[in-house]
């Protein structure tokens, strides 16, 4: 175990690592984040080791199991260095061929490379694939080159260089000034300037201070913090240590939800290794600065991502927000000055110290600097994590990187910012992503969740869904949130069930005002956003539901009916066979009829009706046409009329 005692020793050690690594030696990196783990990355890894051994290549080829590469839609992903040959959706049985063909034979296996759906072109190298090409992965990029369990891998890419630089050549004040100058804003949701938050803590006379990592990511569909912590834990530790140095803290906490077992495991390993190497603990790198980090596993409650609730939970009490008006950076954990930033914010810090604030501010917009990682999910071709400079238009993220909407369907809206964010409609797609731009559009940056919705999505139901999520996750301490959300959910549910009545929109608006103005914490204050933003852009859908009992997206079960068009039905019996409710009356050569009384509106008939017939339709807001009279049901057998 090397204990590194000075920045000079670190340089020597790093050179040592690099000298032992031959850049031309083949190295297979395999994406092993949680998503790829679920699709079989573990088995692929085992097979790789086995096959290399079998083919006598165990010593000639390195295997590196890295964190998430972001393109989760196509995982598990293998990249073969130094040629950067990239294979997608690898199964264990592909492994022998990869080794004989690509490693030994230097040949590319066509069927495993990326097949661009837009151009039908085969793309071999990762960086040339549209999904990656339009990104700028300043923070997330290292994920694909380090094994999170190896500190040497992190050192090999320049890890802990920022810490060495800061401790060696910068005063704590200079570190703070650099962060302030960089205009780094909190990536967790609020977008508060990190430097100003740090400064508040630093200037407080109280000698005991804390730094905390918020890794309680709980937004539905968002997993960038998880992937960063899993894939590159040392970057977060390094950022946290720099923060501690800047404000004068000697103790730090990582609050991570226990539903992220791989993140918990990797961060524990990282802390142990960093302590052994001398990047954590007493007298870090011989500088005299002491800092230790503890991991706290949270029980996974959305509200515990709220800063004061998180600190209450860290103190060992029920994770409820505290009602005080004094900022946590002055009175936070155990009433001491505490700087709480989320994972992505901390991950930006080493980069800023390494390359300088001026370099950082070259990226992004006037008020939002740097890049932002988004979790692109929903009705989108390329699901995954994408990192782009602030200011990138939504359109580019969704269409250039995300590959647009699958199945030839139309884009309808994108929901950004998590449950308390909002929906942005098609005519706003040119909007550049930035903290203030998104807020102005009635949504927010949040932690970077981005849920794409197509024309089949009912916006009233979307609002209902998010309010329901928040109702479940509210701590229940204050009335506007607990009771207000309860009533909002009731009204929204009624509307989607065709029981909406005049005045509902106004009542929802009044409840929204009460929550926004009077709720105790950010969860409650922002909870009405899903409703308000959908109302702002899709008011006509609310009105159609309430006044005409019609769901324009044909999505709300209680407001739609399935109907078989007698002129299109070919009596193929497919719907009849698949209907789980026995609601279809069918006979050979007879137009099928859905018994509306028995129909459970599961949509199976709609899905199984062959597209060339397209006989099953959805209708809403109009009566179901009466069934075809028995004598007209027989389909004449003439093939061409």
């Amino acid at each position: 175990m090397p204990l590194i005692n000075s920045p000079a020793e670190l340089d020597t050690f790093r050179e040592d690592i690099l000298s032992q690594r031959d850049p031309n030696k083949p190295c297979i990196t395999l994406c092993s984040g949680s998503a790829c783990h679920a699709t079989g990355s573990h088995d692929v890894a085992a097979r790789l080791a086995e096959e290399l051994e079998k083919q006598g290549l165990a010593k000639e080829v390195d295997i590196r199991r890295t964190g998430c590469h972001g393109f989760c839609e196509r995982g598990p992903i293998i990249v073969i260095h130094p040629d950067e040959i990239c294979y997608f959706q690898i199964q264990p049985d592909d492994v022998p061929e990869i080794i004989t063909e690509t490693i030994k034979g230097k040949k590319v296996i066509e069927r495993l490379v990326y097949d661009d759906p837009a151009t039908n072109e085969k793309i071999v190298q990762e960086s040339k694939i549209p999904f990656y090409k339009h990104q700028q992965r300043l923070v997330f990029g290292s994920n694909s080159s380090v094994d999170p369990k190896s500190i040497d891998d992190y050192l090999a890419i320049g890890g802990y260089n920022a810490l060495a630089k800061a401790l060696d050549r910068m005063t704590d004040e200079e570190v703070l000034e650099e962060i302030k100058k960089s205009n780094l804003r909190g990536r967790g949701g609020g977008g508060f300037p990190a430097g100003r938050k740090w400064e508040g803590s630093r200037n407080d006379p109280e000698p005991v201070k804390y730094v905390i990592v918020n890794a309680d990511e709980g937004d539905p569909g968002a997993y960038m913090d998880r992937s960063l912590l899993e894939g590159n834990p040392h970057a977060i530790l390094e950022g946290l240590t720099l923060g501690a140095y800047a404000i004068g803290a000697h103790e730090g906490y990582i609050y991570v939800r226990q539903e992220y077992p791989l993140a918990v495991e990797n961060v524990h390993t990282a802390i142990r290794l960093a302590e052994e190497y001398g990047f954590l603990g007493k007298n870090i790198l011989g500088s005299g600065f002491d800092f230790e980090v503890k991991v706290h596993k949270g029980a996974g409650a959305f509200v515990c991502g709220e800063s004061t609730a998180l600190m209450t939970a860290l103190e060992g009490r029920v994770g409820e927000p505290r009602p005080k008006y004094i900022r946590s950076n002055i009175k936070g954990l155990w009433e001491k000055p505490s700087v709480l930033n989320n994972v992505e914010t901390w991950a930006n810090v080493p980069m800023i110290i390494n390359k300088g604030a001026d370099w950082f501010t070259e990226h992004g917009t006037e008020t939002s600097k740097g890049t932002k990682i988004f979790s692109l999910v929903g009705k989108i071709t390329n699901t995954g994590l994408v990192e782009v400079p602030m200011g990138t238009p939504l359109k580019d993220i969704i269409f250039k990187i995300g590959g647009g909407i699958p199945g030839g369907r139309k884009f309808k809206a994108v929901q950004t910012g998590g449950p308390s964010g909002g929906c942005i409609p098609e005519d706003q797609l040119d909007l550049p992503v930035g903290f203030d731009e998104l807020t102005k559009a009635g949504s927010m940056m949040g932690s970077g969740g981005m849920i794409v919705m197509d024309e089949d999505t009912c916006m009233v139901d979307v609002a209902r869904y998010f309010i329901e999520f928040l109702t479940d996750e509210s701590c229940g301490k204050c009335v506007p949130c607990r009771e207000g959300l309860r009533q909002m959910l009731k009204i929204l549910t009624n509307i989607t069930q065709g029981k909406g009545k005049e005045g509902d929109i106004e009542l929802l608006e009044a409840l929204s005002e009460t929550a926004m103005e009077a709720a105790l914490c950010a969860l409650g204050k922002s909870a009405p956003n899903p409703f308000l933003s959908t109302l702002r852009y899709f008011r006509e859908e609310y009105e159609a539901h309430i006044n005409e009992k019609r769901c324009p997206a044909l999505s709300c079960k209680e407001l739609i009916n399935y109907y078989i068009d007698p002129t299109k039905c070919k009596a193929c019996r497919m719907c009849f066979r698949k209907c789980p409710a026995n609601a279809i009356d069918s006979a050979k050569n007879k137009v099928h009829i859905i018994d509306q009384e028995k129909c459970t509106k599961c949509g199976t008939c709609f899905e199984v009706c062959p597209p060339k017939f397209g006989a099953v339709t959805k209708i809403s807001g109009q009566p179901v046409p009466p069934p075809v009279p028995e004598e007209e049901r027989t389909i004449r057998k003439s093939k061409d009329k």
Binding site: P323, T471, D472, S474, G476, V479, P480, R482, E517
Partner: protein, 210 residues
Amino acid sequence: MSEIRLEIDGKSVTASEGMTLLEAARGAGIKIPTLCYHEKLEPFGGCRLCIVEVEERGWTKMVVSCVFPAAEGLVVRTRSEKIDRIRKMIIELLLAHAPDAFELLDLAKEYGADRNRFEKEASFCIHCGLCVRYCAEVKGKHAIGFVDRGVRKEIAFVPEIAANECWNCKECFELCPTEALQAAYVLTTAMTSPLSGASIPVPGKSGDHG
């Protein structure tokens, strides 16, 4: 402790450092309604009824007075159209659970709240937490607590503690603004000692909700 001067409803008010707006206002005889406040207990900030408007360096914001610290030169308004509208909504939301609670009915009268605005959902408890906090902070017994969270949150006695501690105390009973507490207590005693549970004398208020 140093003195500070602030303005509440146009009136110049003197308060001392460390006081909340609510304390400063009450000290000057200005009434702000509360449901979860109790002078013996740590501020809870749960009912949000004591919301007021604060003007500071030209900015107006809504804050709850039971936790907002009084500060030199603050301009505070305890009534306005907006404040009344929010208070009215809070009262209406609570009336859905405890439509016959006297305190709520009195407030409803003052703020023109409609007890039938929301569908009734009788749970009686309005989660002010007075009983829970009193038992923990004043008595140090923790015989009653909140269980679950969000809309499923409830108060419950911890039977093992309540069986020993509550017989001779019952000091929390009079704090309860809706009488839900007695019901919870009777239920607990009925479970822990079914025979004696039926005849517990309930001090103060009228109802036997067991």
